[in-house]
Symmetry: C2
Subunit: 238 residues, 2 copies
């Protein structure tokens, strides 16, 4: 199977969680909207009258004739196929539950710099962003990372991933979230990291996985930037 | 199977999406935290050291020995068991995709009155809420409802639900979202309803389903209120 991923060019965004799974597994895929005419092809699928099951927004994945939208849903589909989720139903639901919790954190990380509206510039909601950032950094980052630390602490040593010994797409996504938060809020994360050694451990181990290391060193990995979900605005890093 | 639902008493909240599915199907369930000592039982499962797969937050469902968190994930599990999702994998993914899109709208509906922080009072973020509400009502409600209208318009007459002829938990959730938005933003929704007859049609049909009609008439249905996700603050209904 050659997968087709559709996501905006120029940012990691929510497409990145899918990319990391495909790259870790060495799957064959095309990042359609980053090629010539790719964005038009993406928009045609979003708005096309003949698309029976249209996605609400990118990212979406074309797998044969199937079109699958919503990041966590794409990973739910890909997980067992790429060897990045357990075979059992209960294991797949648990992996997905962790992914949805990470997705909640991603929404909040975005809304820190866009607390009023995604369609307004950051510059037009700077004051509100500063207020929201204060709370996000003081309460929300610790609350979420405490949770993942607690999940990891359930396992004995030698089982360093969220589900235990085997890596899943939720670990790859945790890597991305920790990297993103570290980019956006370097001061805050330096403080928070101390109390979350197991979470940081997942980040470090994922970074060194062969497929991920090769991907991060390649031009396919778009650098973090200030059009993206994780943005480094020093005023928000309290 | 007798299911145990765990969710905060006094609000519909995210627990309501699970309740509607259980009620429509006539499933046996206990709404644990609404009974004597139920909230303590819920908190024990959230924080318990012996819980192998702890949820991040309510709602969560106990099904035999399985503990399942995240609203959309609970419905993913219940869907085929309650006859509220198709049997095929592609049909189940599509239903789930629609549910996740509704979940995105629910986050935004909540953040209208809490744009700065969930841990602050509405009164402490009233000015920001007014700004966010303006955008939510003008752009976001129409964008989401346009999408569901478009999905419904894919079907010929006589197939009035999101997936066609058969009802799914996504229809029940769409009912709840439209009811909630109508409660919170009656003026705005009166305007929006005109252009979204198919969406309103799903709302009306779900309301009349026997299990749902009985539930809505019972004391089990908690009234909308201003501690909940959908809140009626006239200042925000522009």
């Amino acid at each position: 199977m050659r997968y087709e991923l559709y996501y905006w060019d120029g940012i990691q965004g929510r497409g990145e969680y899918v990319r990391l799974a495909l790259e870790d597994a060495g799957a064959r895929y095309v990042d359609v909207a980053r090629g010539d005419g790719g964005e038009d092809a993406m928009l045609a699928l979003l708005d096309g009258r003949r698309v029976a099951r249209p996605p609400f927004a990118p990212p979406f994945l074309k797998a044969g004739r199937q079109l699958i939208g919503q990041t966590a849903n794409i990973l739910l589909y890909l997980g067992p196929r790429l060897g990045l989720a357990p075979a059992s139903e209960s294991g797949r639901l648990w992996t997905h539950q962790l992914q949805l919790t990470l997705a909640d954190l991603v929404v909040e990380a975005h809304d820190v710099h866009h607390p009023i509206a995604g369609s307004l510039y950051y510059e037009d909601q700077r004051r509100e962003a500063k207020r929201r950032a204060k709370n996000f950094v003081a309460e929300r980052i610790p609350k979420f990372l405490d949770y993942f630390e607690r999940v990891l602490a359930r396992h004995p040593r030698g089982k360093p991933y969220l589900l235990g010994r085997a890596v899943t797409y939720a670990d790859l996504s945790l890597f991305q979230v920790v990297e993103g938060l570290g980019y956006a809020f370097p001061k805050a994360m330096a403080r928070v990291a101390r109390g979350h050694r197991r979470v940081i451990g997942v980040r470090d181990r994922v970074r060194e996985r062969p497929g991920i290391a090769a991907y991060l060193a390649s031009p396919r990995r778009i650098p973090f930037n200030e059009q993206d979900i994780f943005r480094h605005y020093p005023a928000l890093d309290a």
